[in-house]
């Protein structure tokens, strides 16, 4: 009995030593990565993102045999956009499933809730689906963490710069989601208007992400005399803001954060409240738009549509989140390829923090993914784009170093 | 064969025998008193007749037809109406609305204004016409008893089950009630089964009296016979509460 136990123990020990050659999640023919996403609950419209990422990984597995002969397995779990659910979900991924890295996990609060844990264990927490600027700034304390999305303050600053160059006398009203997301966008806007931000911004109306409606805020913004409306909210309140502005017969120049500017939403608003409700709206962009007739022959868009048709036929091409998701998956694959023949977590981090490429087929031409040991901002190139004729139309040159 | 007949009805609740082999006949046009000390099974018998309880054994027939397969809400269609010991009026409804609910029970093809007139006439009969639009909640207990009685009458029953109609009434009102019950029988041709603690009332108005104790029939006869029955006297003396007022 004892002997048997000793034999079993010995087997485990040798097994363990044999495995130390590779980091967790890496076998001879596979790589396991994981992520948490809101598949249910208030933010569940982002639930399609991991499905599109998996579609891209499957495409890479089928056409190229994965990365260096290892197929990529992507395990995504639901956290309902609720940090208290993220913690056990991430622990499960790290400790039970033994994932190699956490990739593109979605949301600021969920990400913050597990940042210490993942850094302590030296598990890469990378390409996060959130645009808070601190992901980029706090790299010294959290070397295992790196974001992906353009930073929110950066977008706010770009809006201010554009207003100052085109309509310097504009009276700006802001609908701001009352949380760090909205506050960062507003801070960026103020930075862009500095030192005259007090006189440029005539009214800021905060709104709760769960507010049943935004009519009170919109009526007050209208009454403030604003002729320019900046919408710094997530999709659900943003849609309400567009529809409500039309309902109360207010037609300011609208700027909306890229977070809420999916062609899917814009089209839906146009359908419900008329094209006038959305036409002329300005946002920033960095991903290609499959709904734009001008980009139909773009090889990146074609590849996107081809992968969608084969691996995710139920997905909606008009959902900008999906092409975004593939751009993330592309970036992850790119880094894995450069992480060594047998990738290690450290190697993966090194690859991610030494990215320098403009070849991501799903990003707009002109967007360069550039990072370094001291630059943890992935996407800093943004262009302005205007909604007309039922799709986004990029205009002007790129803004760089948006952070 | 009476209008209502219970035959060898047994009903147990867990280990307690609530009705033990009770047989009871109520002939058409009669006023029958059902008496007994507290817990004798009187209200239980009412609940069996109105199908709120299902007996374990025995038969309950009304007008020659078994009631045991009739759901409670159909009982009134057969022509049985009842009142409750603790009054079960609809509190937030007006007095008239309470009676209207009863009137609707027998209004299959009757136009609504006729039903309303009938309900108002019933209120007149019990002397509550003036209170028709008052909400029931807040009215004195005695008045509520009359509201409930009117609601029962408005369903135009053949058999009226009265559960302690004299509860809470003063001496004069009890006298009046006795006369009223007889009038119902004589003028509306109603048959009445009456549960009452007020012994003088029961003995005065009843044509026949049925006595229960511990769920069992201990006597059955004319008021005079029952009053002389030694088992009845013993049952009431043995009971701790509610000695007969007679």
């Amino acid at each position: 009995m004892l002997a048997a136990a000793l034999v079993a123990l010995a087997a485990t020990v040798t097994g363990a030593t044999a495995r130390t050659a590779a980091d967790p999640g890496i076998t001879n023919d596979s790589i396991l990565i994981g992520g948490t996403f809101p598949l249910s609950g208030s933010a569940s419209l982002y639930g399609a993102i991991p499905v599109a990422e998996k579609a891209y990984f499957d495409y890479v597995n089928d056409t190229r045999g994965g990365v260096n002969g290892r197929k990529i397995n992507f395990k995504y779990v639901d956290d309902g956009y609720d940090a208290s659910q993220t913690v056990p979900a991430i622990r499960q991924l790290v400790e039970q499933d033994k994932v190699f890295a956490i990739v593109n996990a979605l949301g600021t609060a969920p990400g913050l809730a597990v940042r210490d844990y993942l850094n302590e264990r030296k598990v890469p927490q990378v390409l996060l689906a959130t645009g808070d600027s601190f992901w980029g700034f706090q790299y010294k304390k959290y070397p295992w963490t790196i974001g992906y999305n353009p930073s929110y303050p950066g977008e706010g600053t770009i809006f201010a710069k554009h207003i100052l160059s085109k309509t310097p006398q504009a009276k700006v009203g802001v609908l701001m989601q009352n949380d760090p997301f909205g506050q960062q966008l507003l801070a960026g806007l103020r930075r862009g208007f500095a030192p005259n931000s007090k006189s440029r911004i005539v009214d800021v109306e905060p709104v709760d992400v769960t507010a049943p409606d935004v009519s009170q805020q919109l009526l007050k913004l209208k009454a403030s005399g604003a002729d320019t409306l900046i919408i710094f909210t997530t999709p659900s309140p943003s849609i309400k803001a567009f529809v409500t502005a039309a309902k109360i017969n207010w037609h300011p120049q609208i700027y909306v954060s890229y977070v809420s500017a999916s062609p899917l939403f814009m089209g839906a608003i146009a359908k419900a409240a008329g094209a006038a409700a959305v036409d002329g709206t300005i946002t920033t962009s960095y991903v290609k738009d499959a709904t734009n007739p001008g980009e139909q022959n773009d090889p990146g868009v074609k590849l996107f549509e081809q992968i969608m048709a084969k691996y995710y036929p139920k997905g909606n091409i008009a959902d900008a989140n999906l092409i975004y998701a593939m751009s993330v998956a592309w970036t992850a694959v790119n880094a894995l390829q450069r992480a060594g023949k047998t990738p290690t977590r450290q190697g993966f981090m090194n690859a991610l923090t030494s990215t320098n490429t403009a070849a991501n087929p799903f990003l707009l031409k002109g967007v360069r993914l550039q990072t370094s040991k001291t630059d943890h901002f992935f996407i800093e190139d943004l262009t302005l784009t205007k909604w007309a004729n039922g799709h986004w139309n990029a205009f002007g040159s790129f803004y760089h170093h948006a952070r | 064969m009476g209008l209502l007949s219970m035959r060898e009805v047994r009903l147990r609740f867990g280990g307690i025998v609530a009705l033990d082999n009770v047989s009871l006949e109520v002939d058409e046009g009669r006023i029958v008193g059902l008496i007994g000390p507290n817990g004798a099974g009187k209200t239980t018998a009412f609940n069996v007749i109105t199908r709120l309880y299902r007996p374990d054994e025995g038969e309950v027939e009304f007008d020659g037809k078994s009631l045991l397969r009739t759901p409670p809400y159909r009982i009134v269609k057969h022509g049985i109406a009842r009142t409750f010991q603790n009054v079960e009026v609809f509190p937030t409804m007006t007095v008239l609305e309470n009676v209207l609910v009863g009137a609707h029970a027998s209004s299959r093809f009757e136009p609504e204004h006729r039903v309303r007139t009938r309900a108002e006439e019933t209120l007149e009969l019990v002397g509550l016409r003036a209170l028709a639009e008052r909400p029931a909640v807040g009215l004195p207990f005695g008045t509520l008893k009359r509201v409930e009685l009117a609601r029962a009458l408005a369903s135009q029953p053949r058999l009226l089950l009265l559960d302690e109609p004299a509860g809470g009434l003063n001496h004069e009102e009890v006298e009046e009630l006795g006369g009223f019950i007889r009038r119902l029988r004589d003028e509306l041709k109603l048959t009445v089964l009456l549960v009452e603690h007020h012994m003088s009332l029961v003995m005065k108005v009843s044509d026949w009296v049925h006595v229960l104790n511990f769920g069992r029939t201990i006597a059955s006869g004319t008021p005079a016979e029952v009053q002389r029955d030694p088992t009845v006297i013993e049952a009431y003396l043995g009971g701790e509460i509610d000695a007969p007022a007679a």
């Binding site: 249910s40 009519s215 009170q216 009526l219 659900s236 608003i269 | 809400y73 009982i75 937030t92 409804m93």
Partner: protein, 325 residues
């Protein structure tokens, strides 16, 4: 109470004449309040019928709105889909009650089989079933129709109308009209029809009602069906502004709870007045009282509720009814 309300109405009218923004905020508040009120009315109907707080009310409304959307996708016109949806909602409400009662029955039966004696708990059990339904319906909607936001057409034109210098949304005015219309229709139904009277009787004293010929279970089912219809109406009215999403009704339901309690949980008129009052007060506070920022809206609403309940524990329109056990 009536005086107080009349005074409030006069104050609103005067304010509206003085300030355009006040008028616009009031009308918009009434429209949102109308939605709260319709859903509150549905809660009240179910509470009156079965003494159950139906936590699934918002999700029922959401689900039926999705059904309307689906019908329109299949090519049925707006009003055809509207009517069909109300019919389906009614059947769904009845089915939900049957399901809840069935679940309780099965539980009791199983416990009996297992030899576990336990007393009643019927209402609590039904409440728990409604919470389960909430989760189930939300999941089902996301699964059937995807969690993607969908636009929803309006029964009313989206253009505004001008009265004086003020632009009112026709959609808002329509929503207010529908909310008030439903309470009037319900009031007439409960007050002047045979079935309405029977429903009230069944809710108040089920045993007595049964014995005067009221089919109590049918009346309870009817109550749940009507509540589902009201919820569907609320969903159809709000969807053009907030769009379709499985979670669209989540916070609205909380405000509806507040409205229902504010009005007196047993009073249909109170529910609608409570909803309208909540909508207007929140808009005016947000506009004119600067410390009431958006994150304070819900706390302020609940604070109002608390104050009303301290002064009048039965709500604005409630009566004290002593119930026997």
């Amino acid at each position: 109470m009536v005086l107080l309300l009349a005074a409030a109405c006069v104050a609103l009218v005067i304010g509206s004449l003085v300030s355009d923004q006040f008028a616009e905020q009031t009308v918009a508040g009434l429209a949102t309040g109308g939605i709260f009120g319709s859903l509150a009315l549905a809660l009240v109907l179910i509470y009156r019928a079965t003494e159950v707080i139906n936590f699934a009310q918002g999700q029922m409304a959401m689900f039926t709105t999705y059904i309307a959307w689906q019908l329109m996708q299949w090519g049925i016109g707006y009003w055809g889909a509207f009517v069909l949806t109300l019919g389906i909602a009614f059947a769904g409400g009845v089915a939900l009650l049957a399901f809840a009662l069935g679940a309780v029955f099965v539980r009791d039966w199983t416990f009996e089989r297992m030899g576990i004696k336990q007393a009643g708990g019927g209402v609590i059990a039904v409440v728990i079933v409604t919470i389960g339904m909430l989760i189930l319906l939300e999941g089902a909607a996301a699964w059937i129709w995807s969690p993607e936001i969908k636009s929803f057409p309006s029964a009313f034109p989206t253009r505004p109308i001008r009265v004086g210098g003020v632009a009112f949304s026709i959609q808002d005015l329509g929503t207010i009209g529908v909310a008030l219309g439903s309470v009037v229709v319900l009031w007439v139904f409960f007050q002047f029809t045979k079935v309405g009277l029977a429903m009230r009787a069944a809710a108040l004293r089920p045993f007595a009602a049964r014995l005067v010929g009221v089919r109590v279970n049918a009346m309870l089912a009817l109550g749940w069906g009507l509540a589902a219809v009201l919820g569907a109406i609320a969903g159809l009215m709000i969807a053009p502004t907030i769009f379709l999403q499985p979670t669209m009704m989540d916070t609205i339901l909380i405000y509806a709870f507040a409205a229902a309690v504010l009005g007196g949980i047993e009073s249909p008129a109170g529910a609608v007045v409570g909803g309208l009052a909540l909508g207007v007060v929140l808009n005016l506070l947000g506009t004119y009282v600067h410390f009431v920022t958006s994150e304070l809206r819900l706390p302020v609403a609940l604070g109002m509720l608390l104050i009303v309940l301290l002064i009048k524990p039965t709500g604005l329109f409630g009566h004290r009814v002593v119930r026997k056990v």
